[in-house]
């Protein structure tokens, strides 16, 4: 694969600014080759929907400025679309069992919750905090805005809070039996 395509893939994957020297390190070539490849990539992207942006020693891929209106529309759609059954279920687990990891949510629901959690995060309904027992994972919990929107001052006010807790805990215990 050509160096400019390699760099394009790295920048795409990262999704944010990368230091040029990081690109040099990852692609295993010298600075000059990376500089040349960046020029080539910029040229190739000139007529496309993605641009190569450069600020000092950092580069990044971004959508071209002409796209701002349509992207604004897309963001609005993401924020207003119906939460659906998956949304209600995931939100309910975060409320009743939070702070909770994604793995626990997935296990309880029996399906993967990556995309729905992403949507709940950008909508400010849940937030993620670092997990004190595992550096690599996060814990999800309801936002203050969500609680006040629902009109509950403490989690225990949720309907049948005690019984739901019991059932979820019982289920979580069975998990450790199985493994």
């Amino acid at each position: 694969m050509k160096l400019d395509s390699k760099i394009e893939a790295l920048l795409f994957y990262k999704g944010e600014a990368m230091k040029i020297k990081e690109l040099v390190k990852l692609s295993g070539v010298d600075d000059g080759s990376v500089e040349n490849a960046l020029l080539e990539l910029k040229e190739k992207l000139s007529e496309r929907g993605i641009w190569l942006m450069r600020k000092e020693d950092e580069v990044q891929l971004a959508t071209s400025p002409d796209m701002s209106d349509i992207i604004e529309q897309m963001r609005k759609d993401e924020l207003t679309k119906d939460l659906g059954k998956a949304g209600a279920e995931t939100l309910a687990i975060v409320l009743y069992k939070g702070p909770v990891t994604r793995a626990e949510i997935d296990y309880i629901r029996g399906v993967n919750s990556t995309f729905i959690l992403r949507n709940l995060l950008i909508r400010g309904l849940v937030e993620k905090i670092s997990n004190p027992t595992d550096q690599r994972s996060f814990l999800y919990k309801p936002t203050m805005e969500l609680l006040s929107f629902l009109g509950i001052s403490s989690i225990e006010q949720l309907p049948e809070f005690g019984t739901v807790q019991d059932e979820l805990n019982k289920f979580a215990e069975n998990k450790s039996d199985e493994e």
């Binding site: 994957y13 939460l83 995931t90 939100l91 059932e167 979820l168």
Partner: protein, 252 residues
Amino acid sequence: RVALYKKMKSQEYTVKTQVFEGPLDLLLSLIEKGKLFINDISLACVADDYIEYINKQEDFPMSRTADFILIASTLVLIKSKSLLPTLDLSSEEQESIETLEKRLKLHQMMKELSFHISKNFGKKIMFTKTPSKNITPVFSPDGDLSVSKIAEGIRSVLLNLPKKVAVIPKKVVEKVISLEEVMENLAKRITKNLKMSFKEFSGIGKEEKVNVIVSFLAMLELVKQGAISVSQDEHFSDITIESDNIGIPKYD
């Protein structure tokens, strides 16, 4: 066919020590070990080994035994038909044989394809963009978000939790019972067809029906191979089994 049958016998030990995920897995491995194609002849060849395998398994969970036995009943049908071409099969029985062959072929096909999956999985991953870490959330509930919607959500979650205790479904129990019937019926028909009884040889009445059938098929196989000869004085009387070198074969 006799040669194939003997070849299968020599593979027995390896098969017995292996663990199989299910009846089709076992059956396919018996066929593949004999380097056979999937058809009624090869299925007839492996029938005894299959039945012997399940007889030797003592601690099968009930639900799994049913799956294994159900396939066994079809194999017995196939084997009976191959040894006794005059045996009439009902259209349902004929269909169960065709279905087994078809399932086995599909099973084999998917098992072979699964090697591609295992081999390629995770080797060349196509990654998506890492989600941005600096998106500012905008509080945006949807129109009908409420405490009752949340309560509905959690009820649906609890309802869909997998049940821990595996109860044997009623259907499985029914299947085992119907197998009993199949065996009984088949025993009657084979007896009538040959106009003889094999009471003593097979321990009929004392043994499990499946064992009676297996014994009978084994005896027929030995007759075919010329190892023994059998004679019978009158209809429904006992059979005399004669042989110079092996005496009365001992099958369990």
